[in-house]
């Protein structure tokens, strides 16, 4: 399987990474090189095999449903590129 340039642009959009026109062919080649590398997996017989969900058997731990965190607003905002009045500031979000 391989991707065409339209697919590369679509993937970039999904990944929210801007790509320029000049970058697309190069990215296409790189992605296709990797897809060619993994293509051999198509031939493996996986009938009746469950996909791995947990690499080491473990049970999700539970705890008491009480608040144990919070009131750390300054720490949360400390690394913000732009913040004001306890909010992260962003450019407009179009509906």
């Amino acid at each position: 399987m391989s991707v065409d340039q339209a697919a590369v642009r679509r993937i970039a959009r999904l990944a929210r990474i801007a790509v320029t026109d000049t970058e697309v062919p190069h990215l296409q080649n790189e992605i296709n090189a990797i897809l060619a590398f993994v293509a051999e997996l198509d031939a493996v017989d996986v009938s009746g095999v469950e996909p791995m969900t947990s690499v080491i058997p473990m049970k999700l731990p539970m705890r008491e449903d009480v608040v144990t965190d919070g009131d750390i607003e300054p720490a949360v905002l400390a690394n913000a590129p732009l913040a004001e009045d306890g909010f992260f500031l962003v450019p407009k979000v179009i509906e």
Partner: protein
């Protein structure tokens, strides 16, 4: 230069621990010696941030605790920390531009454990960006030069290259290249590192140091910048197997803040050093003998088996039939998980933000500017294999193959094998700029012996095992049962002892 201070950096972690305990040296002296060494080795680019004042403050506190008889297991010992670990108030960027100026308001559990036990923080270590790489060449801060000289290079030639683009100098491996280089260059007594596909074990092999990736869940991942959550694991790199055992005992342990961290006691790993190998069965997997394999590597592997046999272990041939599918399956699973984990870097809450008029433009421009080429490549592959129409063909299939890979190991262990001996890397260290520019897959092939271990969640240890014909370090890997790191320390020590002392390189860089 004070000759005594120079000698202090030649101590192993265990030797320094004992010297401190018996008041032969102070932590301040020890820490200062390492800070001076780091300063002289700036050209190697192993450390990307040094915390000198903090280190000396911690050292003074350690000296006071030693005098008061309250020394912890790592009291006063200067350690380097991979830039992947959140260190409160200190540079933490996973060597990526997208985390520009990020200083966490919290500490990772693994490093908190080290400070709890009295260790001293020297600074943050260089790494491949977001742990994606096998040579430390994808770092935003530039490559790390291995302290090992390329074959036939003079010290003068190496120093000249250090001042330029470092081309031709050896890579220390990756992604924990800074950690491995710093330990081998004696800039710190040990370093924290991490391993998702081989990022502790391959650099350890390339630099003649020891490293262990413990069982998935042995150490907490809280505060580690996440790459692939089902594969990532914390571990140490140090100059000896014993030093790794000492480090791991402090690093490991349960943590309520990581639901994938095992609730299991941490044994005294150091006690496993020097145990007898009698009664142990070691498997040699035939599928690891690759076509066109480097004859030096194959010879070293055979030598390793002979050493273990001589030490009392039983050596048997085993089969792990799905071995060859591990690397391609890894390059589906890991990028997929990364595409999810790295979605958070969007310019909103921390790190780099590019100017934009509207929100999606903010995301796209910030991520294009902030991520390097290798990260971008893997995020796009990861996004593709998880996208509608391709999810079953790629991601689900790779996860089924992962089940098969794990099952291979379970079968072998159930048959009475205690551990598996394999090569660590397909070659000795290669030069900076030598691989990967034409074909990304060329670099990925470095991980061929190591990714199986992450895919199966097992512990894997690399011990220094000898030199190539050109004089470069080579390592051997032992893979163990879940949570049986003790057997790996016993075996690793036996390999290390059989190989004989491998002197670390003299400081040509200053």
């Amino acid at each position: 230069m004070d000759a005594d201070l120079k000698d202090l950096t030649a101590l192993t972690l265990a030797e320094a621990r004992d010297a401190l305990r018996f008041r032969q040296i102070s932590s301040v002296e020890l820490t200062q010696a390492h800070l001076s060494a780091i300063e002289r080795a700036k050209g190697l680019n192993a450390f990307i941030a040094t915390t000198a004042q903090k280190a000396l403050g911690m050292a003074r506190e350690s000296d006071a605790r030693i005098v008061a008889g309250e020394a912890g297991p790592l009291e006063g010992l200067p350690i380097g920390v991979k830039d992947l670990y959140a260190t409160k108030g200190v540079h933490t960027q996973a060597c990526s531009h997208i985390l520009d100026r990020f200083k966490p308001a919290y500490e990772s559990t693994v490093t908190a454990n080290l400070w709890r036990d009295g260790a001293v923080m020297l600074g943050k270590l260089n790494m491949d960006e977001f742990a994606m790489g096998s040579s430390n060449e994808t770092s935003f801060y530039g490559p790390v030069a291995s302290p090992w000289l390329p074959p036939n290079w003079s010290a003068e030639k190496a120093r000249a290259a250090l001042g330029g683009d470092k081309r031709g100098l050896l890579t220390p491996g990756g992604s924990s290249g800074g950690s491995a280089a710093a330990v081998a260059a004696r800039l710190c007594l040990a370093a924290t590192a991490s391993d998702t596909g081989g990022s502790i074990r391959q650099p350890a092999a390339f630099t003649g140091t020891a490293g262990i990736k413990p069982t998935y869940g042995r150490c907490s991942r809280y505060g580690m910048v996440a790459f692939a959550s089902s594969l990532d694991q914390a571990g140490p790199i140090a100059r000896t197997v014993r030093d790794c055992a000492i480090m791991l005992r402090s690093m490991a342990g349960p943590d309520a803040k990581d639901s994938t961290c095992a609730v299991a006691d941490v044994p005294d790993y150091e006690a496993a050093i020097g145990r007898s190998l009698k009664g142990l069965t070691i498997g040699i997997p035939r599928e690891y003998r690759l076509e066109g394999m480097n004859p030096e590597i194959e010879a070293l592997w055979r030598r390793g088996a002979d050493w273990l046999r001589a030490a009392g272990a039983r050596i048997v041939d085993v089969s792990l039939p799905n071995t060859r599918h591990a690397l391609p399956a890894y390059y589906i699973v890991a990028p997929a998980e990364a595409s999810s984990n790295l979605a958070r870097y969007d310019g909103v809450r921390y790190g780099l933000r590019e100017p934009a008029g509207e929100i999606v433009e903010l995301y796209e421009k910030t991520r294009a500017r902030g991520f390097g080429a290798e990260v971008r490549r893997r995020l796009m592959i990861g996004t593709y294999v998880l996208s509608a129409g391709y999810y079953d063909a790629y991601y689900v299939r790779a996860q089924k193959i992962r089940t098969l890979i794990k099952r291979d190991f379970e079968t072998v262990f159930a048959d009475g094998v205690d551990a598996i001996l394999t090569p660590a890397t397909p070659s000795a260290a290669f030069g900076i700029g030598e691989k990967g520019s034409a074909d990304p897959v060329e670099m990925y092939l470095n991980d061929v012996f190591t990714v199986t271990v992450n895919m199966a969640g097992l512990p894997g240890l690399v011990a220094p095992a000898g030199r190539s014909d050109e004089g470069l370090p080579l390592g051997l890997q032992v893979i163990g049962r879940p949570f049986d790191e003790e057997t790996l320390f016993t075996l690793g020590h036996a390999i290390e002892q059989s190989a004989g002392s491998l002197a670390m390189p003299d400081a040509w860089w200053a």
